[in-house]
């Protein structure tokens, strides 16, 4: 059973998607550690280390993710988390933005999969496919 740490990053309290993600991941057979809303990047990394998770799945809805995720690359190497899959999804910019601008930016911050304004189930399908291809 794959382990997923999830939650909403930064000073963001949009919880509805977070609840649905929890339900969907469980329904897909993942073991879920849900940190809820308003979670800092450090808290996420701590939880990944502690639970020995396979996936870190971050949500951001209020547009402010960028300010919170710029240090991921650094933390990722510091904690030697090469094998953990890093995923982010939700609404990843203030104002209306294009996927083509958003995806490369967040990939450069160290995310493996980036879903800007992508429906949850579509995103989780991609994630599962990605995980099965890793093996």
């Amino acid at each position: 059973m794959k382990k997923v740490v999830t939650g909403v990053v930064g000073n963001d309290i949009h919880v509805v998607a977070n609840r649905l993600i929890d339900i969907s991941l469980q329904a897909r057979g993942f073991e879920v550690f849900n940190l809820g809303v308003n979670t800092s990047l450090e808290e996420f990394i701590d939880a990944v280390v502690e639970t020995d998770a396979d996936i870190l799945l971050i949500s951001s809805l209020n547009g402010e993710a960028e300010g919170w995720c710029r240090d991921l690359q650094f933390l990722r190497s510091e904690y030697d988390l090469k094998d953990v899959v890093f995923v982010i999804g939700g609404n990843l910019a203030v104002g209306e933005a294009k996927e083509s601008d958003i995806i490369p930016k967040y990939k450069s911050y160290g995310f493996d999969l980036v879903f800007h304004q992508v429906d949850l189930n579509t995103g989780l399908d991609v994630l599962e496919k990605y995980m099965s291809e890793l093996k």
Partner: protein, 454 residues
């Protein structure tokens, strides 16, 4: 020096803030033009006031936004605060403001008022000479509200419940009550100088399947807490439910009972206003349909005879709206209100009786709590689940109440958790829906109902 003033001195001394000159501020409020006070506009009640949402990080863009709004003949200007300021993270707000200013790109979802300070912001407010409404979502809003009032912003939204349960994960609830007591006290104090400062509660809460009885109870309680501190002008509010009839019923009961409880608790002289929020849940990812939804809400706001409507934009599902789009929304709303005439006054005896009974039962339970002060009674009621807000991210919230929609779009309670609903009322709620058989079906129905406007 009074205790309150001592606290105010401490609160307003902060590394991100220039020293407050309270004497100067008092003089400013005393002499401020009546135009700036929304309470002054409410008094006339000659039309439904239109207020959008809006906040940009930089002063420059905020000023431009106001200019754009003015051209759409706006009634009330909004000042929406960014998420970091809401959670008192002024350091992050400062960092992101600097980045926004340097890169001409918005890194914040609102205006970081504390970092900008009142001296700067007041220039903008007095320049446009329209009432400004402070929109945030801040459990500890003491410094923010001091800054707002000193800037000439004379309507303060929020309260210890409505700005906690939807807006925070683990801010201590008891502290929130005390901090909002401070806010109410300061507002009451300034209200004696000129026109009253208007306080407004935030009825939409999580905007996700919250049943009207919970909304109304919370509206009344925040009103009573404010009245207790001397506030004389207060707006209760709610947002579109998803059923026109439920909106009408909610409005009728909310108006009736807020007046009733205000009078009971020494607020006979308080002026009460009704605010209607356009649909606060998930918007369709189609701008034309969003326009339709927005206009439908305008019609309903007029039908429920609100005093103010807070509007959305066609960009809602996409992100913070552009200025032009936001101003267009104001213009459309004003057009509809101008041309829409001959509205019927509607009642539904049965629904209203049921809702009133629910509200009174919960209010009784709160007021009969053994604690000695009102805020402690409310605190205990939230802790015990007598007040329970669906989809609240806050750890103290019970999260036991489950609601789904009936076929007319009404939100109905199918699990009452610890809500002290009379048996008759709960039976009535359940009689309106076909209860799904399994937990999975309930969840699927809920997901479907959250997306009622998609």
């Amino acid at each position: 020096m009074s205790l309150l003033q001592k606290e105010r001195d401490i609160i307003t001394r902060n590394e991100y803030v220039d020293a407050f000159d309270f004497d100067e501020i008092e003089a400013f409020i005393k002499n401020a033009p009546k135009e700036l006070f929304i309470s002054h506009h409410f008094k006339k009640r000659d039309r439904l006031l239109v207020q959008p949402r809006g906040g940009f990080p930089t002063y420059k863009k905020m000023f431009e936004l106001y200019e754009t709004f003015m051209s759409a003949d706006i009634d009330v200007l909004p000042l929406t605060i960014d998420s970091n300021t809401r959670l008192n993270d002024y350091a992050m707000a400062k960092k992101m403001l600097t980045l926004s200013e340097e890169n001409e790109m918005d890194m914040l979802n609102g205006y970081p008022l504390v970092n900008h300070g009142y001296r700067t912001t007041r220039k903008m407010v007095t320049h446009f000479n329209k009432p400004v409404s402070l929109r945030h979502g801040t459990p500890d809003a003491r410094l923010l509200v001091e800054t707002a009032l000193a800037s000439g912003i004379f309507e303060i939204e929020g309260g210890p419940i409505t700005y906690m349960l939807p807006y925070s994960k683990n801010f201590p609830l008891d502290k929130a009550f005390l901090y909002w007591k401070y806010v109410d006290k300061v507002c009451a104090k300034y209200s004696t100088l000129n026109e009253p400062i208007n306080r407004e509660s935030f009825g939409p809460l999580t905007a996700t399947l919250v049943p009207p009885c919970i909304v109304i109870v919370i509206q009344i309680l925040e009103m009573l807490l404010s009245i207790e501190e001397g506030v004389k002008s207060f707006s209760v509010s709610f947002s579109q439910n998803g059923s026109m009839m439920q909106d009408i019923v909610t409005s009728n009961v909310l108006k009736k009972l807020s007046r009733y409880y205000a009078d009971q608790f020494g607020g006979e002289d308080a002026i009460l206003n009704l605010v209607y929020h356009q649909w606060m849940g998930a918007f369709p990812r189609n701008k034309e349909l969003s326009d339709s939804l927005i206009n439908t809400n305008t019609v309903i706001a007029a039908m429920v005879r609100a005093d103010k409507i807070i509007i959305k934009t066609r960009d809602e599902a996409f992100g913070i709206p552009t200025m032009q789009c936001n101003a267009q929304s104001v213009a459309n709303t004003k057009y509809t209100l101008r041309t829409l005439k001959g509205l019927p006054l509607i009642h539904d005896e049965e629904e209203e009786a049921n809702l009133e009974a629910e509200v009174k039962a919960i209010m009784d339970a709160v007021l009969n709590d053994s604690a000695d002060t009102l805020w402690r009674k409310v605190f205990n009621s939230i802790k015990s689940g007598v007040i329970d807000v669906p989809f609240s991210p806050h750890i103290i919230n019970k999260n036991e109440v489950i609601t789904i929609r009936d076929e007319n779009g009404n939100i109905r309670i199918i699990e009452k958790g610890q809500l002290p609903l009379p048996d008759k009322c709960f039976a009535y709620e359940k009689s309106k829906v076909n209860l799904p058989a399994s937990k999975t079906e309930v969840i699927n129905k809920m997901i479907h109902d959250i997306g009622a406007m998609l």
